[in-house]
Structures are given as structure tokens and as C-alpha cells.
């Protein structure tokens, strides 16, 4: 398990646009993540399997359960506790990343509400009112600004909530809330949960894998139903709740004759402002004076998903394409904010003419120019960045822009799905539930996560999604996984022809693709909300764990993916990861996650190397849930006559 795909296969990506870039770099190798991965072989097997403990300086210890000599670390720790500590620290890292993003958004939101952040405004009043109801903020005839300030303050306070559970968990199905309460998993503020994980995993504190995972669960839930959800909701209020919109993606969206600016990272506060400024007539005029026809803004990773789903701004690529975008030679400026930014980027940028800018004090990089972004001067800073790109346009050398672009429909927030299924008059998830019950739709899958050079780029995402829709499973996607499917043409209504007959019928009737783009990685909180709506609509059980549903991250690589995976598991979802599994060397702890945890929270983890195996496991899970709900067989329709009705038990 977890072995790198044999390098003799040579394939690095299934995306023809990537292959075009590789071909142009053959003579003067740039050195991409795939090359560095090959040079790193063999990677540390102890670290890969979760058997390495380097928490104190008596170590590092490699702990192997099947070798008497290495059975225990210097302190006496066994492998299951080592793996559990490593795993919950991964949850803490991921939860912290999402939630610090959410905190940044909350701070910008509050500044905007107070009129201190020029250029930001309340774009979706209805969503603001929704949050006011969630937080118990009085609405009445109060001015929108007053409501926004109070909502902003309440949102910001969620991160430091010390005692009571955070407010958004009340959105979950009642039975789910009961499960969390019963197992002391109701999350407090994510700040406290992360700190508690760091305390418990310090040398000589929590030594019980089950107890460690209880805290891991609480922390992950504080991310999914807390930090991430705050980010999603406040971004919607400030920038608009996503609605269906057509967009273009892949490296071919870069333009030969325009100034290309690429925003990479995760927070939309910067990308939104750069988008506004780059379209200002005076900026376009400046670009023309430098010989360009205009300004072309594109994104990488989730900053890209944010502006794609709200404005249709082209998405240049997903995680493993960040280096390739620079290697086209056509990027005049790349500005990055936080998360998933490869350390190699400034070095690669130097091989071309690209200006490489960091913008967040949390994420500085040697070799990059730093322009600190702050919401008080957002427009001014965005203007400076755009002007730098324009100035750099004449310095371009030879370019190799792949001619591949793909079209997709993005913007399927859970509110929009609700609307599309019933209109404003009677928005509802009922048509979805009905079609799950009648079997046209077999189940629901969330396919999310990153890329990882250990798996052929995009191959597992695409193969898995195709297999699922062919088996009538509707797929909800976010992040880099969403972009992989978009590049394969699966996010267009026409993709219904690749779906099974039942799912295709539903997609054609509603006019939606069989694979729905729900946003960035913090927007996995939208999938939680959609799942909750399906439960609350009725007919499919009382809890998320009753649903014929499953989750997957076939090409995951980051701690954020582990946090996301675990808040889905702790919310009752069977979740399968691919590529590699970080506790594989700890049989007891892995058994807890893969088997016993289901008895505690209703969801569990699993691993599958190949996408076909992953699809098989997910469909098997969906079928088991259908059987438990009694909707696994077509029922004969019986017309009751009066005598039969009288026999019915009225009680």
C-alpha cells in the first residue's frame, strides 16, 4: 500500500494541457513536483505509515508492532498511540488552516460592515438575514449595517468559544446533535480544540487512541461546522451566494496577447479585489499602452474556485498545475495568499519573467516580493499588483500556452440546488429524495480533495467520478477534485450521457450536470448542509449516517484533507481516501478508524489505492444504506380497495 506508482509508466498527468507543458520543458528541465518526488525516493517508510514519533528529543523513535526490538518508543509509547497522535495533529493542522482563513474573512467582514474596508460590501442581504437568525441577532427594521456588525462580531467570537458548543452545529440533524452530545464531541471554538490537541499530543499526556480521537473528532467538527462554515457563509454575504455560471478552465485560458495575472491560494478577499481592479477601464488602457489587448485574470486552486463560481473568472488549473502555469512563460504576475503554495514557485518564476508576489503575512516565501494585503487598503494594493503585472508584460520571452480549455458550469451552492429543484415558490430537496427513493438516483457521493504526484494527476478523480455517475450516483465536488472533473467535461449538462439511465433522466429533467461544482475546500461545509437538507426533507432516515451516501478524496495530500475527511466521518459519512494512508503501520488504530469508529459516530474511514476499488466500496456502502432504509428493491404498486383499507392498522 501507499507505494508510488511505478515510474516506468512515465505518465504524470492525464490532462493533455499538462503533457504539452512537459513537452516544451524537455530540453531545459524546470523541475516539477513529479521530478522532486522521484529524487526523494525512497521516502521514509516509518513516516509514511504513521510509525515515526518525533514529538520529544528522546526520539525520534520508529515504533514497529511486529519487531520486538522496536515495539516501544523511548518513553514506552506503542505504535497505535504514535499513529493516533500524528493523525490528530494532522486534523489540528487542517482545522487551523481552514479556520484561520475563516477568521480572516470574519475580520474583513466586520471591517466592511463598519465601513472600514473600502471596496467590500454586503452583496447578499438574504444570506445576512439567515446568519442573523442562526446567531439570534435581532432583525426587525434595523439597518443592514447594524445587523452586519452584530453578525460579524458573533461570527468572530465563534473561533474563541470556550465552553458552549458553536452555534452552527444546531444546523445538523437533531439525531446527529444527540450523537455528538452523547460522545462529548460537541465542538467548542476551533482555537480551543486545536490548542487542546497540541496539549494532549505533547509528550506524556493523552496515551489512549480512542480518547485522542474523541478530541480529534471535536476539532474536526469545529472546522467543518465552525471555521470552514463561517468562511463560506460570510464570503457568500460579502461576495454573493454562488449561482449557476459558465466558466472556462485549464492552462489554455492564459492569453498570448493579454496581461496574464494568476491568483493562487485560498482566500477570496484578495482575488475579488484584483478582479474588480483588473477590469477598470483605466487599467485596461494602461495594458494597451504596453502592447497588450487587455488584462486576463485567472486563478489556481481554491482562490480560483471562489472567483470562478461567483464571477466566471477562468480557472488556470488545480494544485499540480501551479508550477506548469509558470512554465508556459505567459504569466506576467502570480500573487499568492495562503495554503497549497509550493515552495518551488519563486525559483521557477525566476526562470521566466514572472513577478512572484506573496500577499499574506502568514505566508512569506524567500525569493518572492512581499506586498502585504490588508482590507483597509484593499483596492489600492490590488491596483499596485495589477500595475506591476502590466509593467512586466513587455518582458515576456517565448511562451508555450497549451491550446486546451474546458467549459464547466459552477456555482451549485446548497441554496441553489434547493432552488433548482423547486423554484422560489417551493424550493425543496424533495425531488432529489424522491428520485433516490425510487432508485433513479442510487445515492450521493462527495468527491473532493487535492492532487498528489504519487498518483497520475487527475486520473483517480476522473476515473472515480465517471464510475460513480455511470452507476447513477450523483456527485458533489469541491476544490482541486472539482477542477479535475471539469477538465474532463463532467460538469456540463451534456455529461448526463455518461451517467446511468436513471441519473441521466433526472439531470435532463432538472437541467443540471451529474457532477456539481460546490466551490472551494472550505465549501465542503456546503456538502454538510446539502446532506442535512436531504435528511430533513424526510424519507431517507433521521441522520446523515442513514443516507445512501459516501465521500472520497482519491488524490489527497494535505492536512486539510484529513480534517475534512474526519469531519465527514464524525458527521456520519463513510469516507474513502486514496494514494496513501497515514496510519497504515498501526493496525490497532487503523482498525479503530476503519471499523470500530462506525459504532461511535455512524461514519468511518477507509482506504483504496485504485479508483475502481474506491468506487466499488462507495457503491457497496450506498447499497447497504439503501437496504437498511428498505429502498433497495422496487416495490410493487398495489391499489388498495376499501376492504384492504379497513384492514390497515389506524393506530
Amino acid at each position: 500500500m501507499a507505494e508510488i506508482k511505478k515510474k516506468e509508466e512515465k505518465a504524470r498527468s492525464v490532462d493533455p494541457a499538462c503533457e504539452e507543458v512537459f513537452a516544451t520543458c524537455e530540453e531545459s528541465p524546470v523541475g516539477f513536483s513529479w521530478d522532486r518526488l522521484a529524487k526523494q525516493q525512497p521516502q521514509c517508510g516509518f513516516g509514511m505509515k504513521g510509525q515515526c514519533c518525533r514529538i520529544c528529543s528522546m526520539g525520534p523513535c520508529r515504533v514497529m508492532p511486529d519487531k520486538e526490538k522496536y515495539k516501544y518508543g523511548v518513553c514506552g509509547v506503542d505504535v497505535d498511540t504514535v499513529a493516533a497522535r500524528n493523525f490528530v495533529r494532522m486534523i489540528a493542522g487542517g482545522a487551523a488552516a481552514h479556520s484561520d482563513h475563516g477568521r480572516g474573512v470574519a475580520e474583513t467582514f466586520l471591517a466592511a460592515a463598519k465601513g472600514e474596508a473600502k471596496g467590500y460590501e454586503i452583496k447578499d442581504e438574504q444570506k445576512l438575514l439567515q446568519l442573523a437568525l442562526d446567531f439570534g441577532v435581532e432583525i426587525g427594521d434595523r439597518a443592514m449595517q447594524d445587523i452586519a456588525i452584530e453578525v460579524g462580531e458573533k461570527a468572530l467570537s465563534i473561533f474563541g468559544e470556550q465552553h458552549g458548543p458553536i452555534p452552527f452545529i444546531k444546523r445538523a440533524p437533531l439525531k446527529r446533535q444527540e450523537i455528538w452530545k452523547q460522545h462529548s464531541m460537541e465542538p467548542r471554538g476551533v482555537d480551543r480544540e486545536v490548542v487542546e490537541i497540541m496539549h494532549r499530543t505533547h509528550m506524556g499526556v493523552d496515551q489512549d487512541p480512542v480518547n485522542l480521537m474523541q478530541q480529534g473528532s471535536r476539532c474536526a467538527l469545529a472546522d467543518g461546522w465552525g471555521g470552514s462554515m463561517v468562511a463560506t457563509e460570510l464570503q457568500d454575504v460579502m461576495f454573493g451566494t454562488p449561482q449557476p455560471i459558465i466558466g472556462e478552465c485549464n492552462l489554455g485560458v492564459l492569453k498570448e496577447d493579454e496581461v496574464n495575472i494568476v491568483i493562487h491560494g485560498h482566500e477570496p478577499t484578495l482575488s475579488e479585489m484584483v478582479m474588480v481592479v483588473s477590469q477598470a477601464p483605466e487599467m485596461i488602457e494602461k495594458a494597451k499602452k504596453k502592447g497588450a489587448k487587455g488584462i486576463n485574470l485567472g486563478g489556481i486552486c481554491c482562490s480560483a474556485n471562489e472567483i470562478l463560481m461567483r464571477h466566471g473568472v477562468p480557472n488556470v488549473g488545480n494544485f499540480l498545475q501551479q508550477e506548469l502555469a509558470l512554465a508556459t512563460g505567459a504569466v506576467d504576475l502570480m500573487a499568492v495568499d495562503v495554503q497549497c503554495i509550493m515552495d518551488a514557485l519563486p525559483r521557477i518564476a525566476k526562470q521566466y519573467h514572472t513577478k512572484f508576489i506573496t500577499t499574506n503575512y502568514r505566508a512569506k516565501m524567500s525569493g518572492a516580493e512581499h506586498i502585504q494585503f490588508d482590507e483597509d487598503h484593499a483596492e489600492e494594493i490590488a491596483r499596485k499588483i495589477v500595475e506591476m503585472a502590466i509593467e512586466n508584460y513587455p518582458n515576456r520571452g517565448t511562451t508555450h500556452i497549451p491550446q486546451t480549455t474546458n467549459t464547466l458550469v459552477a456555482g451549485f451552492s446548497h441554496e441553489t440546488i434547493n432552488y433548482l429543484l423547486g423554484g422560489v415558490f417551493r424550493a425543496a430537496y424533495k425531488p432529489l429524495n424522491d428520485n433516490i427513493i425510487n432508485g433513479r438516483i442510487r445515492g450521493i457521493a462527495g468527491v473532493v480533495g487535492c492532487n498528489n504526484p504519487k498518483t497520475v494527476h487527475d486520473s483517480a478523480h476522473i476515473a472515480l467520478v465517471k464510475e460513480l455517475i455511470a452507476n447513477d450516483v450523483i456527485v458533489l465536488q469541491t476544490g482541486c477534485s472539482a477542477l479535475a472533473a471539469a477538465k474532463a467535461g463532467l460538469m456540463l449538462p451534456e455529461a448526463a450521457k455518461e451517467a446511468g439511465k436513471g441519473l441521466a433522466e433526472v439531470c435532463e429533467a432538472v437541467g443540471i450536470p451529474p457532477v456539481l461544482h460546490m466551490g472551494s475546500c472550505v465549501d465542503n461545509s456546503r456538502i454538510l448542509m446539502a446532506a442535512t437538507a436531504v435528511v430533513k426533507e424526510g424519507g431517507l432516515g433521521d441522520d446523515i449516517s442513514d443516507l445512501p451516501a459516501a465521500g472520497a478524496a482519491p488524490e489527497w495530500m494535505s492536512e486539510k484533507a484529513i480534517s475534512i475527511g474526519h469531519y465527514f466521518v464524525a458527521s456520519g459519512v463513510y469516507t474513502v481516501f486514496g494514494t496513501t494512508w497515514p496510519t497504515a503501520g498501526a493496525p490497532g488504530f487503523t482498525d479503530l478508524l476503519f471499523n470500530k469508529y462506525e459504532q461511535i459516530v455512524g461514519g468511518k474511514w477507509d482506504f483504496a489505492q485504485e479508483p475502481s476499488e474506491m468506487a466499488r466500496k462507495m457503491i457497496e456502502q450506498i447499497d447497504n444504506k439503501r437496504a437498511a432504509l428498505g429502498i433497495d428493491k422496487a416495490k410493487e404498486r398495489v391499489l388498495y380497495d376499501m376492504a384492504m383499507r379497513r384492514e390497515l392498522d389506524a393506530g
Partner: protein, 70 residues
């Protein structure tokens, strides 16, 4: 837009002509801005109670209103 007819096979095997798809050719140039249909604050709040009733109606909806568990 003119009516488009398509031929389909009926349950008894005979051929019938029915109304075909009515959507316009090509890709839409504008997003579906359905949220702009919600006009003033009262409409927005009403929509929350009806459309987003899973969370904002006066009583719980669907499975959570059920008297006996599934």
C-alpha cells in the same frame, strides 16, 4: 421559438410525434441570478421560512417532524 417535434416509440411499439426540447441553442451569457428574485426584506425572510424551511420554518420539517423514528 418554434415548436420542435421529435418521434418516439409508444408503449405498444407504434411511432408517435411529441413536442421536443424547448431550450435555446448555445450557452447562456449570464448566470442564473435567481437570488435577485427575492426583493425586499420581508420577501427574503418569507423565503427563509419556506425555501430554507429545513432550518428556518416555525416547526421542523420532514423527518424531524416524524413522531416515530425511521
Amino acid at each position: 421559438m418554434g415548436e420542435k417535434k421529435i418521434k418516439k416509440e409508444r408503449w405498444d411499439g407504434s411511432e408517435v410525434e411529441i413536442l421536443g426540447e424547448t431550450y435555446e441553442e448555445g450557452l447562456p451569457e449570464e448566470p442564473i441570478r435567481w437570488r435577485s428574485k427575492l426583493g425586499d426584506r420581508q420577501q427574503m425572510l418569507r423565503y427563509l421560512q419556506s425555501g430554507e424551511r429545513y432550518w428556518f420554518s416555525n416547526d421542523w420539517y420532514g423527518s424531524e417532524r416524524r413522531k416515530t423514528p425511521a
